[in-house]
C-alpha cells in the first residue's frame, strides 16, 4: 500500500515522505551507536574510507588521459599526465602515494583488531570481510602498478604471473590465460587495466558496504573488550544521560573525532605527496619497460614484501620438497592465513593484549617478525652478510619465515588454549 502523501512542510519533509530520510539518517548516523571507550586507533576505518575516496577520485582524473597500450602507456602517464595536463602531476602523486599509505593504515587497522581481540566472539565476519578487502586492495595495487608500464611494472608482472605456472596440471596454461599471451605484453596490460579500473573497484565498493554492514550486529569493540547492552546504553544517551552512557552516536560525536584524526593524517599524507614520494613511486619505474633488460634487483612494493620474503625464504629442500615449491606453498598460505585467525586463536577472551600475558608477547613478536620479513624481502637474497667466509644472508629470511609459521600455527593456538583453560572455559 502506498504511503499517504501530505503537502510537504519543506524539502526535508518532502523527501522524508518519499524516502524515509529521517529514519535512514537515524539508522545510519544519529542513532548508530559506537562505544565511547575508544582511542584514535578507532579512526582507521574512516581514514581508510577517505583514502579510498581519494584513490577513486584521483583515479577518475587519471583515467581521462591514461592510454592502456604498451606503446602509449608510459608517455601518457609521464608526459601527458605529469607534464601537460594542468595539475595532472598532483592527481598522479596523490593516487600513487595514497595507494601505498592506504596499506600502512590497513596494517594498522589489522594489528589494532588483533591487539584488542576484535575478530572473535561474534565479530568473525567483520574480520573476514576486512581480510577480503585486504586481498582486493592488494589485487588493485598490483594491477595498478602495471599501468605506467615502467621497468618494475613489467618485471613485477613477469615474476608474479609466472608463479601461477607452479600450480599442478593447469599451471602453464593458466599463466598464458592470465597474460593473454605467452609473455607479458599488450593484452596483459589491457586486461589488468580493465581489472584495475572496472572490476576491482566495483567489488571493493561492494566489500566496503558489506564490511560496514558486518559491524551492525556484533557492534564495534572497545578499548577494554567490555561487553554491554547497546540498546540499554543507547536509551540512556537518548534520555540525556550522555555522560553516563557507554555509547555515542556515529554522527556527530564519533565522526567529529575522526575528522580531526583524518585531518592530522592528511597533513602527513600531503607532505609525502609533495616531498617524500619515492617510497611509493619507485625511481626504477620511471624507466620504460624493457623486456631485454632485467633490473638488477626485482622487488615488489613495500606492502607485499613480507609475503614475498615468505616466497623466497626457503632456500634448501625440506622433506623432499624443492625450495621453490616450499616457497610457493608458504606464499599461498601466508596470503590467506589471516582469514582463519579467529580460529587459530582458541581463547574466547576479548581484551587488549597487554592484559592477556603470553598473548601480549606473541603480538609484539608477530609484529616484529613481519617487519623483519618485509625488510629482508627487499635486501638482496645473497651475499649481503658474510660470516667467516659463509654467506649467511638467506638465513635471515628463512628464520623470519619459519618464525612466522611457528607463531601462527603453533604458538598462537597453544597460548590461547592455555588462556581458555585458565579463564574456565566460559567468559
Amino acid at each position: 500500500m502506498m504511503a499517504e502523501i501530505r503537502k510537504a512542510k519543506g524539502i526535508m519533509d518532502w523527501l522524508d515522505q518519499r524516502l524515509a530520510t529521517e529514519t535512514l539518517t537515524k539508522v545510519l548516523m544519529t542513532e548508530y551507536w559506537i562505544p565511547k571507550n575508544i582511542n584514535f586507533l578507532w579512526a582507521m576505518g574512516v581514514i581508510l574510507t577517505t583514502m579510498f575516496g581519494i584513490l577513486f577520485i584521483s583515479g577518475l582524473f587519471l583515467l581521462m588521459y591514461y592510454k592502456p597500450d604498451t606503446k602509449l602507456a608510459f608517455d601518457s602517464v609521464n608526459y601527458t599526465i605529469m607534464q601537460e595536463v594542468y595539475y595532472g602531476w598532483l592527481w598522479r602523486h596523490m593516487h600513487a602515494v595514497a595507494a601505498s599509505v592506504v596499506f600502512l593504515v590497513i596494517y594498522i587497522h589489522m594489528f589494532v583488531a588483533i591487539y584488542y581481540g576484535s575478530y572473535k566472539k561474534g565479530r568473525e565476519m567483520i574480520w573476514i570481510s576486512g581480510m577480503l578487502l585486504f586481498v582486493l586492495f592488494s589485487a588493485a595495487g598490483f594491477s595498478g602498478y602495471m599501468l605506467p608500464w615502467g621497468q618494475m611494472s613489467y618485471w613485477a608482472a613477469q615474476v608474479i604471473t609466472n608463479l601461477f605456472g607452479a600450480i599442478p596440471f593447469i599451471g602453464p596454461d593458466l599463466v598464458v590465460w592470465i597474460r593473454g599471451n605467452f609473455f607479458v605484453s599488450d593484452p596483459t596490460l589491457t586486461r589488468f587495466f580493465m581489472l584495475h579500473v572496472l572490476l576491482f573497484p566495483i567489488i571493493i565498493i561492494a566489500a566496503i558496504v558489506f564490511h560496514f554492514y558486518s559491524l551492525r550486529i556484533p557492534h564495534v569493540n572497545n578499548q577494554e573488550g567490555e561487553h554491554f547492552d547497546f540498546d540499554e546504553e543507547a536509551e540512556k544517551y537518548k534520555a540525556g544521560k550522555k555522560k553516563e552512557s557507554k555509547v555515542i552516536p556515529f554522527w556527530p560525536v564519533f565522526l567529529s573525532k575522526d575528522l580531526f584524526v583524518v585531518g592530522v593524517f592528511l597533513i602527513f599524507y600531503f607532505y609525502l605527496v609533495g616531498f617524500n614520494y619515492e617510497f611509493a613511486m619507485d625511481p626504477i619505474n620511471f624507466e620504460p619497460a624493457n623486456y631485454m633488460k632485467t633490473p638488477t634487483h626485482i622487488y615488489p612494493e613495500w606492502y607485499f614484501l613480507w609475503s614475498y620474503e615468505v616466497l623466497r625464504g626457503f632456500f634448501f629442500p625440506i622433506a623432499g620438497l624443492k625450495p621453490f615449491t616450499l616457497g610457493l606453498l608458504g606464499f599461498a598460505i601466508a596470503n590467506i592465513v589471516f582469514f582463519i585467525l579467529p580460529w587459530l586463536d582458541r581463547s574466547p577472551v576479548v581484551a587488549p593484549a597487554h592484559k592477556r600475558g603470553a598473548f601480549n608477547i606473541w603480538f609484539w613478536l608477530m609484529l616484529i617478525d613481519m617487519i623483519g620479513l618485509a625488510v629482508y624481502g627487499k635486501v638482496p637474497p645473497n651475499g649481503v652478510y658474510v660470516l667467516g667466509g659463509t654467506d649467511i644472508t638467506p638465513w635471515f629470511g628463512f628464520t623470519f619465515t619459519v618464525g612466522f609459521f611457528i607463531l601462527l600455527f603453533i604458538a598462537l593456538p597453544m597460548i590461547t588454549i592455555r588462556e581458555r583453560k585458565r579463564a574456565g572455559g566460559a567468559k
Binding site: 608526459y79 619515492e278 617510497f279 625511481p283 638488477t296 614484501l305 617487519i371 625488510v375
Partner: protein
C-alpha cells in the same frame, strides 16, 4: 596522554619499517661508490702552456677537420650528421665549444688516446676500431702539440652556454629527450607536412641504428631520467660511468663540474618540470589542512565535553 603514547608506538614502528625497506635495504643493494670529483685522477697532468696560434695550425695539419667541423672558425662539418653516423657510428662533434664543455687535461689525453680515455676501450679492437684515431703528432713533442690544440680550442670556446645547449652539445649526439622534442639530430624542426615529418623520423631512426652498431646498445632517452636516478647518481655516472655500471658502452666524456651541472639542470627542467609548482602548491594544501584540523579539534572537544 594514553593516546599520545599510542601515537608514539605507531610512529616508532612506522619509521622502523620505513628505515628498513628504504634507506637500509637500498644501502644493501648498491655498493658504495666515491662521488664524482671531476679530477680524472687516472690521467697524468700534461703541463704545457699551449699556444693557440700553433694549435690552430695543428688542427688543420693533423687532419681533425677531415671529420670535425668548427663553426666559429667557419669550417663546416664535412658531412651531415646522419651520413657521418653511417660512416663512424656517431656524428663527430663540432669543435667550437668543446673547450668550454670538457676538462683541459681530459681533452689532451683524449686526443692522444681516445678509446682509452673514454674508458670503454674494451668495446673496440682491430676488427672494430674506435672511429677516432689517436693523435700521432706532427713531428715535435706530442704532449706539447696536444696542449697547443687544446689551448686553441679553449680560445675559441664560448664563455657561457645555456643549459639546453650544453646538453645537446655534450650528450645529444647519442641521447634524445623526446619530451622536449630533442633528437640525436638536435632540436626537432617544425614540419610542414606528414611527408617531411616521416622523412625526419626515418633519418633519426637510421641514425639510432648506426648508434646501436657502434655501441652495441641504444642509448636511452633521457626525458625523465631525473626521476629514475638521483642527482648524485647522475653526477657520478657522468664523471665515470664504469664506476656505477661496469662494462657499459657509455663513455667517460670528460665534462667539467660546471657543464655537468648544466646538463643535469637541463634534465631536471624537462624531467621534473612541475617541481616549482609542486613545491609551492603542497605547502598551501598543508596550510589549509592545518586550519581544518584545528577547527575539527575544537568541534570535537566541544562535542566530547558533553559526553565525558
Amino acid at each position: 596522554m594514553r593516546e599520545l603514547k599510542i601515537l608514539g608506538v605507531l610512529v616508532v614502528f612506522t619509521l622502523l619499517v620505513y628505515y628498513g625497506v628504504e634507506p637500509y635495504a637500498h644501502s644493501k643493494m648498491h655498493h658504495h661508490v666515491e662521488p664524482a670529483n671531476f679530477q680524472f685522477n687516472d690521467l697524468k697532468a700534461i703541463d704545457y702552456k699551449g699556444d693557440p696560434a700553433k694549435g690552430k695550425q695543428l688542427i688543420v695539419n693533423a687532419g681533425c677537420t677531415g671529420c670535425h667541423g668548427i663553426k666559429v672558425a667557419k669550417i663546416p662539418a664535412p658531412m651531415p650528421a646522419d651520413a657521418a653516423a653511417a660512416s663512424f657510428g656517431v656524428a663527430p662533434p663540432d669543435l667550437s665549444n668543446v673547450g668550454y664543455l670538457y676538462d683541459a687535461k681530459f681533452l689532451k689525453h683524449f686526443i692522444l688516446n681516445p678509446a682509452h680515455t673514454f674508458l670503454n676501450a674494451k668495446k673496440f679492437n682491430a676488427k672494430k676500431p674506435f672511429p677516432m684515431p689517436g693523435f700521432y703528432g706532427v713531428g715535435g713533442d706530442k704532449n706539447k702539440e696536444v696542449s697547443d690544440i687544446v689551448a686553441y680550442l679553449k680560445s675559441i670556446a664560448p664563455k657561457e652556454m645555456e643549459a639546453k645547449e650544453t646538453f645537446i652539445a655534450a650528450c645529444g649526439r647519442c641521447h634524445g629527450v623526446k619530451y622536449d622534442k630533442v633528437t640525436q639530430l638536435g632540436e626537432m624542426p617544425k614540419f610542414k607536412s606528414d611527408t617531411e615529418k616521416l622523412a625526419y623520423e626515418l633519418k633519426v631512426s637510421k641514425y639510432k641504428e648506426h648508434l646501436l652498431k657502434y655501441l652495441a646498445a641504444t642509448p636511452p632517452d633521457l626525458s625523465i631520467i631525473v626521476r629514475a636516478k638521483s642527482k648524485e647518481h647522475l653526477e657520478t655516472f657522468i664523471d665515470n660511468p664504469q664506476k656505477l655500471l661496469k662494462g657499459t658502452s657509455m663513455p667517460r666524456v670528460g665534462l667539467t663540474k660546471e657543464s655537468t651541472e648544466k646538463v643535469i639542470s637541463y634534465l631536471e627542467s624537462v624531467g621534473d618540470s612541475k617541481k616549482v609548482e609542486r613545491e609551492s602548491l603542497i605547502p598551501k594544501i598543508i596550510g589549509f589542512l592545518i586550519i581544518f584540523t584545528l577547527f575539527a579539534y575544537l568541534w570535537k572537544s566541544k562535542l566530547w565535553r558533553e559526553v565525558h
